[in-house]
């Protein structure tokens, strides 16, 4: 068994080509931001009823996945699983990169982007949004220290474990904060549920590990490195477990709502009569993002081969985006119930399902955030010794697992 070695990514035409493609996405998103900034949000599909749209779906996906991707590090240094340690550096780097990508989308969608400095200097501490600003920036700082501790020589194992523990607790707080953005919205039937916080934590475990595995497999393929099959298989099975946990919390979320009479109409909307939202929920979130990955990862006749892992992880990502679409847009599409027991109508869409047709600009912005996160990860791997060189089955210590 060799000691695990790490190296920077080499400059290859493939790598630069990939960065150029990502640069094109980022550039397109930058132009989109300028366009929206100039014309106003009238050029997007968002309106006065659906005030948060596709950019928020991407942004929150990336932020949730960011905290989840740090789990690989946490499993190694906090929970002492030795076989996860060789990939812990990538986990930390990816967590920071995903958060930066998500935050970029979130802030670039602001109505007054030029006032970003106000958001960072003027706080209303009763706002969970303001807490999140601090949680996000704190996360970047703490994970940076954690990554340094992982990479530097001579760092005492206690210091590393402490940094890991702080980062782990911080990421739990961060995802609780993100879930509570919705959970604390008492006015809307689609939100207003304490389960949003643990649901988002479960989602982060699942989405984060899926993104981590795709990044790991992609990088190893691109740079001819090895991703120990045993480790990959273990992580894939863990991903399956997380997918099941998300399904469980989703079940509890909807069953609890069904029990409360005032939320039943909303549940009928999402589960039965919501048109696109019902389709997205059952076909996208539950089937494509939940059941199919579970079958791919746990079916006894299917070996957890690389292709299947890639497919399962990709479906978890797609299902995750769909789940957030259902939560964020579906929650706003259902009308506010200001007058229980009355049929209502007005010029401001009272009493009707709110319409939303996202424009391509919103997707360009969202994909730009994903491209930014990927580019930051690649650049990080290019300049730092993040990726293991010799991550073979023989070199992964699974004896302590």
């Amino acid at each position: 068994m060799e000691r695990i070695k790490y190296s920077e990514l080499r400059s290859t035409p493939k790598l630069w080509g990939l960065l150029a493609i990502l640069g094109a996405f980022i550039g397109a998103a930058a132009l989109t931001v300028l366009y929206i900034e100039h014309h106003g949000h009238i050029v997007t599909g968002m309106n006065n009823q659906i005030v948060w749209g596709v950019p928020h779906v991407f942004a929150i996906f990336l932020i949730v996945a960011a905290s989840g991707s740090l789990n690989v590090s946490s499993i190694g240094s906090v929970f002492g699983k030795q076989d996860y340690k060789p990939v812990a550096r990538l986990s930390s780097l990816l967590a920071m990169a995903l958060l930066m990508g998500g935050l970029a989308v979130l802030v670039l969608d602001l109505g007054r982007l030029d006032r970003l400095i106000i958001a960072m200097t003027t706080y209303n501490f009763k706002s969970i949004f303001a807490w999140n600003v601090l949680l996000y920036t704190g996360f970047l700082g703490i994970v940076a220290i954690y990554l340094y501790a992982q990479m530097a020589r001579g760092v005492h194992s206690f210091a590393l474990k402490t940094a890991g523990m702080v980062a782990f607790l911080w990421r739990l707080a961060l995802t609780t904060g993100t879930g509570s953005i919705f959970g604390w919205l008492v006015a809307r039937n689609g939100y207003d549920a304490a389960i949003m916080a643990p649901l988002f934590i479960a989602m982060s475990f699942s989405f984060g590990l899926a993104v981590f595995m795709l990044t790991m497999i992609g990088t190893c393929t691109l740079t001819n490195r090895r991703y120990a099959v045993e480790l990959r298989t273990r992580q894939a099975r863990l991903l399956g477990l997380f997918v099941a946990v998300v399904l469980y919390f989703t079940l509890v979320q909807h069953v609890s709502n069904l029990y409360v009479v005032e939320h039943q109409a909303f549940e009928r909307f999402i589960l039965l009569r919501g048109g696109i939202y019902t389709w997205l929920f059952w076909l996208g979130q539950v089937f494509i993002g939940g059941i199919v990955p579970l079958i791919l990862l746990f079916h006894p006749r299917l070996d957890v081969k690389k292709g299947l892992v890639i497919l399962a992880a990709a479906l978890v990502v797609i299902g995750g985006l769909i789940q957030l679409y259902v939560i964020i847009i579906g929650g706003q599409a259902f009308p506010l119930e200001i007058f229980p027991g009355y049929e209502v109508s007005s010029s401001f869409s009272d009493g009707i399902i709110n319409k939303y047709s996202p424009t391509y600009l919103e997707f360009v912005l969202g994909f730009g955030g994903m491209a930014l996160a990927t580019a930051i990860t690649i650049i990080g791997m290019k300049i730092l010794r993040i990726m293991p060189v010799n991550l073979s089955d023989e070199n992964v210590d699974i004896t302590q697992v």
């Binding site: 949000h41 006032r115 970003l116 958001a119 003027t122 919205l185 008492v186 200001i338 009355y342 319409k355």
Partner: protein, 245 residues
Amino acid sequence: MSKEKIANLQRRNFLKSGAALASVTLASGVTLMALSQGAAASADPNIRWGLLIDTNKCPSDCDDCVSACSNEHGWENNGLLTDPQWIRKVTLKDKQTGRENSLPIMCQHCEKPPCVDVCPTGASFKRADGIVLVDRHICIGCRYCMMACPFKARSFVHEKVEGQKSYSPRGKGTVEGCNMCVHKLDAGDGTTACVQACSASGNGAMIFGDLNDENSEISQALANYPSVELRDDLRLNLGVRYSNI
């Protein structure tokens, strides 16, 4: 009024006009700052402004309050989903009895406003006299207040604004809503554009006044007739009350 009081008022008016004059020569942002600070400074903590709307007196075919607000503040609803609506008429039909009635909804000026709680920068704020406002200078356009408002009382400005009123600044990329005609109140008018229009129409469905003053017309009406607040399950203690829903 004593001579001393008159002198004070004249001096205050002079200072106000001086500020206005100074603001003309400065950038537009500074102009707005001067106005907003002036408004906040004049809020009286002993007052809580409120509205009582009698839906029996509010005909479904009348939207004079909406037009008056639109004219007063310069917003326009052309039927687009992105158009702002600071006040809107809502038609209600009782599912059990079929009875229909109509009423206006605007910012309910909650005592404990969710929009103020969630606003990350504190741009959503409540004045000492209970009026809930948006400080356009620090609103970053995140729209979290719109997500949190139980009454859809806020609108986001989706495009460039033209024809702004100097006393009611608006701006692309920020959130806005009913401000209880704070400029009129601060000028001592003691009423709002919607209430004036409702009176002028002869319907008299809206009463405006100080909820803290037990002798005010609104307090008397609230004391003598049943009224409700919307979403009373949320316990927000609204500044706007309705009777005969």
